[in-house]
Amino acid sequence: MDMKPLWFNAAAATKPGLPIRLGAIGAVMLSVTGAFAYTGGWLSPERLTQDRMMAAFREAYGIHVGFRRNHAKGVCVTGWFESSGQAAAISKAAVFRPGRVPVVGRFALAGGMPFQPDAPSTVRSMALRFLPPGGEEWRTGMNNIPVFPVNSARGFYDQLLAFSPEPATGKPDPAKIKAFLAVHPEAARALALIKKREVTSGFANSTFNSLNAFRFVDAAGGPTSVRWSVVPVQPIKADAAEQPEQGDENYLFDDLIAQITQHPRQWRLIVTIGWSGDLTNDATQPWPEGRQQVDAGTVTIDRASSEDGGHCTAINYDPLVLPAGIQPSDDPLLSARSAVYARSFKLRAEEQHEKPPSAVTPMEAQAGGKS
């Protein structure tokens, strides 16, 4: 009968140099594992990773199972984009050819608190998903502020922690904010501009800005630095013009739903063309006035619904979902946003079965927003 050794060849074990060879194999295995762990960020506690960014969101806003980690309170909307064809000269994206493209959007308030009461000064956002035929979709998330408060992932992380409420007082620590602004002077300048912005009466007459710069690419491959905005067709009313209904914590969303139910609301998609020399990697800095603008077309929103069961809920409004014809700029925030949104999306997907109802429920949305 063939008597093979079950595992180890005893003859091999007696060879000279064996410990060195075994050691070499062990060293190679350890090196490969170490390199893998290093790449995954496990060996560098100082490195800003997606997990650490999520921890900062928890610190700043608490735990809200199943909700987006930021812009947690929102409603879904649908409608269409009627392209004027004017942006087709600077971008080959199908969405800019003359014609109509369906859109699925989301209006939201900044911050990770899904049940925060609506307030005029809270930053408002509009996210849009353009769905031209052929599958080359375009997603964008825009805010009603002129510039972003920070210009890097680290700045955003520091800002989250600096503005986190203290457990004792429930309010941010002024000393921490002061220290943050000292380290991030760009944030101090940007926050001053943000504070000065005109706050309108609601979502429907707000202007929403891309904040980050992008690159349009035309059919010949020619690049153009751009930022874009959606500018309301509805007349702009200052915030004080309408008082919130007593005790209605969702008055901004309820007004929006009521207005859309009444008749469709519209925004013009305005593309601003940067000059050479205009910064594309710093979202805290506005471009100078007087830049050429292209009216790319009109966004019409004719339906609104709760997030619960809404068309926007199972969508990550990742700013790097772009069609050929729109490319990221050198702004580091774009990659950071894309990465952080993806992690937030993963977490809330995992928690989906435990999620409580959203602030604006399907019943509230169907009632035309209470008012």
């Binding site: 140099g17 075994l22 599958g135």
Partner: protein, 198 residues
């Protein structure tokens, strides 16, 4: 010592073409899942087309395995090692095939576009479903760690055959026809074991 039969040229070509791709993929994957830096976008844009390329090559490799079956292991390999070798190869093939498919299905369930290059996108292969996405996304991570562990075992076993057993198993997949790794010949103690020794 008998001369160990070698893998067919097509098998060796596919092996050495895919090895760096898969290792790169594991590192790109673990790196992009952690990154919030500028590299994130670049890593994602490499990960998706590279994954699909691995899927295509993996299918070619399975077809090739039927056309060119692998050579038998030498008689000196013990039954337990034979079993370990067989199991790890089944695991490697299964993981190579599943990783890109799970990745593609996972992106589909979230309706992330699967961008290969420029305007070239793959269609979704699963329904738009957040719960399905969560399940596939977690599966993708678990399979990735399993693939890394299986790759390590495979790499370790290859080095063990090449440096310690020197039974021709390593050489059967190498480009040069040799029973053991090159530096084995520089060690005088090993010359007697090298099939090419004078």
């Amino acid at each position: 010592m008998t001369t160990q039969p070698r893998f067919a040229a097509a098998s060796r070509l596919l092996h050495w073409l895919m090895a760096p791709m898969i290792i790169a993929m594991l590192f790109v994957g673990v790196g992009m899942a952690a990154s919030v830096s500028r590299r994130y976008d670049l890593l994602v844009s490499i990960h998706r087309p590279l994954g699909i390329a691995i899927l295509v090559l993996c299918v070619a490799r399975i077809v090739n395995r039927f056309i060119n079956p692998p050579p038998d292991l030498p008689d000196t390999v013990s039954p337990l090692q034979r079993f370990a070798a067989k199991a790890s190869h089944v695991a490697l093939y299964a993981l190579m095939l599943m990783m890109p498919l799970v990745g593609w299905a996972m992106l589909s369930a979230a309706r992330y576009p699967v961008v290969l290059y420029g305007p070239v996108r793959l269609p979704p292969i699963s329904p738009h479903d957040l719960t399905l996405y969560a399940w596939l996304r977690d599966l993708h991570t678990v399979l990735a760690y399993l693939l890394f562990a299986t790759f390590l075992a495979h790499f370790g076993a290859a080095l063990y055959h090449g440096l310690i057993r020197r039974d021709g198993v390593f050489g059967s997949m190498a480009f040069r026809e040799k029973g053991s790794m090159q530096f084995a010949r520089t060690n005088p103690a090993s010359i007697q074991n090298s099939p090419q020794a004078p």
